[in-house]
């Protein structure tokens, strides 16, 4: 596996006193991706409102099948809000409302006869703060299959499989009955990934999964994402541009702009492309400014 280093900007004409930060894009270059994703999920003209406040405006993009898509952008640009509207977690906020279409395999997930429970079962989610249940490691992983009534021939095998896939099995195989809360932060987050894998979703949404973790734990989660990519489609929100550069196949850059006719800022999709393109030759000046660290 070779890795290539791209610099964000080869030569900076304006910034002669300060070299533009170099963002390492560590990619598996054997992976050749089509210029446009083969989408498993698509957003078309999506607006997300909290009451009267429009948090996200007119987002259209497709999330590639078995790809990792990163959503990046400054705070308040609506990337987490958009992510949470992809598996109807926004339903839990009474004032939240989604307009436009969000489709999964071409079916609208906000359709009238769509069961949000089934949506969340097929589109799993890992949260910012590791949130294991106050139960044993085993019960944490078995929780999803149990509540969804999954037909499993052996729960033990399923738990082992999920923990193995999330690179946690060797560390916890002798203490499956211990509380999940006794694990370190990084282990807890891998437990949360294992728990999500156990219900065999097709898409895994990750909302800043490493922001509460140290660099070593972060790097393990990133390796894990690369491994999981072959089986799952992953959509990750991150504040860490380097992380997007390291793991994502495609990157969508969002920004917050004052909406027309009101002082409220709303999230907009600025640019969406292959990560290599976003970090080497972004088409939009705002993207370039952001990834070169000039704002955000």
């Amino acid at each position: 596996m070779t890795s290539h280093t791209y610099s964000t900007r080869a030569d900076s004409a304006e910034d002669d006193h300060e070299a533009a930060p170099r963002v390492e894009v560590n990619r598996d270059t054997r992976r050749s991706l089509p210029p446009d994703p083969k989408p498993i999920m698509e957003c078309d003209g999506v607006d997300v409102y909290y009451g009267d406040f429009r948090a996200v405006t007119d987002v259209s993009l497709g999330f590639g099948h078995n790809e990792i898509t990163a959503l990046i952008g400054p705070s308040g640009c609506g990337k987490s809000t958009l992510l949470r509207s992809l598996n109807r977690m926004n339903d839990l906020i009474v004032s939240a409302r989604v307009e436009g279409s969000v489709t999964f395999h071409g079916q609208s997930i906000y359709g009238k006869d769509v069961d949000p429970i089934e949506v969340r079962r097929r589109i799993g989610m890992v949260f910012q703060k590791p949130n294991p249940f106050p139960k044993s490691i085993y019960d944490n992983v078995a929780y999803g299959p149990r509540v969804t009534g999954m037909k499993v021939s052996s729960m033990d095998d399923l738990v082992e499989e999920a923990l193995t896939k999330s690179a946690l099995w060797d560390e916890v195989k002798d203490k499956l009955k211990d509380s999940g809360l006794g694990l370190s932060g990084g282990q807890q987050q891998r437990l949360c990934i294992a728990r999500t894998i156990a219900i065999r979703p097709e898409v895994i949404l990750m909302d800043e999964p490493c922001s509460a973790l140290d660099p070593i734990a972060t790097s393990r989660i990133e390796d894990l994402m690369i491994e999981l990519r072959d089986e799952y489609s992953i959509i990750i929100v991150t504040h860490n541009m380097q992380q997007a550069a390291r793991v994502a196949d495609r990157t969508a850059f969002f920004t917050a702009l004052a909406a027309e006719g009101s002082g409220d800022r709303t999230g907009l999709l600025v640019e969406y492309d292959l990560t290599t393109k976003i970090f080497s030759a972004p088409a939009d000046e705002r993207t370039e400014n952001y990834i070169s660290g000039r704002f955000g």
């Binding site: 598996n87 977690m89 839990l92 009474v94 429970i117 089934e118 969340r120 079962r121 799993g124 989610m125 949260f127 703060k129 949130n131 294991p132 249940f133 106050p134 929780y143 999803g144 509540v147 969804t148 949360c192 728990r195 999500t196 219900i199």
Partner: protein, 298 residues
Amino acid sequence: MASLGAIATAPLKAKREGDKSAKSIVFMGVLWFTIFFSVLCLGTLLVNAFFDGWTRLDGNLITRYSSTVLPETAGARAAILGSALVIVMTAVLAIPLGVAAGVYLEEFADPRRWYNKIIEVNLTNLAAVPAIVYGMLTAGVALSIGLPRRVVLAGAIALALLILPVIIITTREAMRAVPREIREGSLALGATPLQTVWRQTLPSAVPGIATGSIIALSRALGEAAPLLLLGGLVFVSYDPNGLFSGYTVLPIQIYDWVKEPQLAFQQVASAAIILMLGLLLLMNAVAIVIRNRYQKRW
């Protein structure tokens, strides 16, 4: 190279008087006095009751029935059993209802609906309604549905109504203390809202609910007013034997004895007060132990 000592810095010694100023001392003095005063009142009551009643803290107190003619050997047997039965029935009525209402309000009710807002405001008010009002309510309802007023069930209903708001509020607070991440984690795994409550939030909230319920029940145990209003019997010389049996409870029994002029009645009343305070202390201690041992720290 300059040594550290060469760097000028202000001394750390206190310049101001801080907590030693006259104002602070007066304020602390007032705080101490208020504590001292409340403890003194409680202490006087306890010491007084103990000196009056310790001679009657004997077997007769718990094994014998009350008597109008022999105060020296009168006991609170009927009242102890009555209190126990009424409190158990109160718990059976109030806890499931209160917990269910609390769970509904906290997890399922849409706070924007006007009827939920009304419930919200009234709940807090209900918790502050004088106990006797619940006695009147129960008496009125009992009359209209043909339930005798002077039976265990009627008393338990009045006390259950009395502590219901407290249990609902306690349940809501215990549920609210469960982090949002736990609910989200459960729902994100494809659990239904009901499964999430049943398997995650409610079990995590049980220690808090138990603590609040025990404290509410201990309040009910010490309550005489609503039962007196229901015409709770003051002189009972038999064990209560069912929901439709006549009964008396400890606070009413104490009230009855204190009314009597003879010294021996005052003594047995004091002994019963000690017994009741002991029971209340025990219940509150159990509540504290549950809270400290089982409460989850997130």
